[in-house]
């Protein structure tokens, strides 16, 4: 695929395109200001939309959403954060794993409106500027993926696994990473990456 503009990456192009509806969403939010003032959560608006304030990777976003919109769809379709993947979309594969207030959850089984008031962290929020999170660096170093589709969810889950104190042995890592499936079968290298990263994370 050729880049749409010289020097721009495919990812940046997709990110820009996905962010366009956000402008419309923000405008609708302004129109709904009256409703927003009345209640704090899930303020009802005309047309079945609700105003939702999401805190993602340290940034606050105001969105006008259908209550049916799941957190993963809000991240991808409304905020342009396409790092979080939709795999099975019903809680079996772990590709959509994000952190909600520091705890790993499935963003496909979380309604965006129900995530209001929580701090959400996605794969885009893990690195410190250009410096990868130790878990990201360990996944690269240990080749802990093949196609890469499950990788953002694996990494978010792996960071939580270490922070929870459940990375004590290979067997414990496997049990506590059991919610994240990798159809390429990179499990052996994923376990190696977690073992490596846990020391660098100070665990």
């Amino acid at each position: 695929m050729t880049n749409p503009t010289p020097g721009a990456s495919r990812r940046e192009f997709l990110s820009t395109a996905a962010s366009a509806p956000l402008v419309a969403g923000a405008a609708a939010g302004v129109l709904g200001g009256e409703a927003r003032a009345q209640t704090t959560t899930g303020a009802a608006m005309a047309g079945g939309q609700v105003l939702v304030t999401l805190k993602v990777n340290g940034q606050t976003h105001r969105l006008s959403l259908d209550p049916r919109v799941t957190l993963v769809d809000a991240l991808r379709e409304h905020l342009g954060l396409t790092g979080t993947k939709v795999g099975c979309n019903h809680g079996q594969c772990g590709a959509c794993t994000v952190h909600k207030d520091g705890v790993r959850v499935l963003s496909c089984l979380t309604l965006a409106v129900a995530a209001e008031g929580s701090e959400i962290t996605t794969i885009e929020g893990l690195a410190d500027g250009d410096e990868l999170h130790p878990m990201q660096a360990a996944f690269v170093q240990h080749d802990a993926y093949q196609c890469g589709y499950c990788t953002p969810g694996q990494i978010l889950s792996a960071v939580a696994c270490v922070k929870e104190g459940h990375a004590g042995s290979d067997a414990e890592i496997r049990e506590y990473m059991s919610g994240n499936l990798c159809r390429c079968g990179a499990y052996v290298n994923i376990v190696a990456a977690i073992n490596d990263a846990k020391t660098k994370m100070g665990a």
Partner: protein
Amino acid sequence: MYAFDYAKPASLDEAARLLADDPEAKALAGGQTYIPTLKQRLAQPTRLVDLAGIPDLATIKEEGDGLAVGAMTTHKAVAASPVVQRAFPELAYLASLIGDPAVRAMGTIGGSVANNDPAADYPVVVLTLDATVRTTKGEHRGSDFFPGMFETALEPDELIREFHIPVPEAAAWEKFRNPASRYALVSVLLVRTKDGEIRCGVGGAGPTCFRATAIEDALRSSFAPEALDGVTIDAGDLNEDIHATAAYRAHLIPVLAKRCVRRMLRR
């Protein structure tokens, strides 16, 4: 998903009122079963009443001869609770084997019991220990709470506040997991109550959890694995699906019960 409205009330009374006012409204606990149900369009509620904004529903404390566990307590919280780990470690162990870590972070004991999936784990606890289910309308006995598959004694607008779970003298939980879903093909909870009574609860095998009285009778005369050698369970009423035949499930029940006996004798 079909369209629905969303409400996040700040009190259990308000939640109950919203459900009473609209028979088509539904309560949302952790959502780990109900959101997939909505996605498959197997339910069409007019409104979701999210219980996550109600304070004090996710508490765990010792009370009398047991544990009082709030309805919105997550599996993760039960598994990690020092109170549960000290007073009833097998319950913490049971909670640590539900689903996977992300599901346990959201899924709740109240949601699990109110849904009564045949393969769910907490209903077996509530039934076997005859836990008290405290609701917005009164109380229910755990032994009388699960009439059938996905059915409970709850009224449509009745919400669980908390469970009072009597702590047994000794207990062992064995779950034969589907390796992918982690749901129980069969699970067995064997307990000796503080009164010395042997009870054996079974999950995953039938339309709803049940007590295996043949196993209880055999163990009452001799609490040893060999006491179950001749015990057979009728496969006639058991579940049959792509994961296991009814005969296989019937076979697993005494097998898991024997493992429970061995573990209780080892302690």
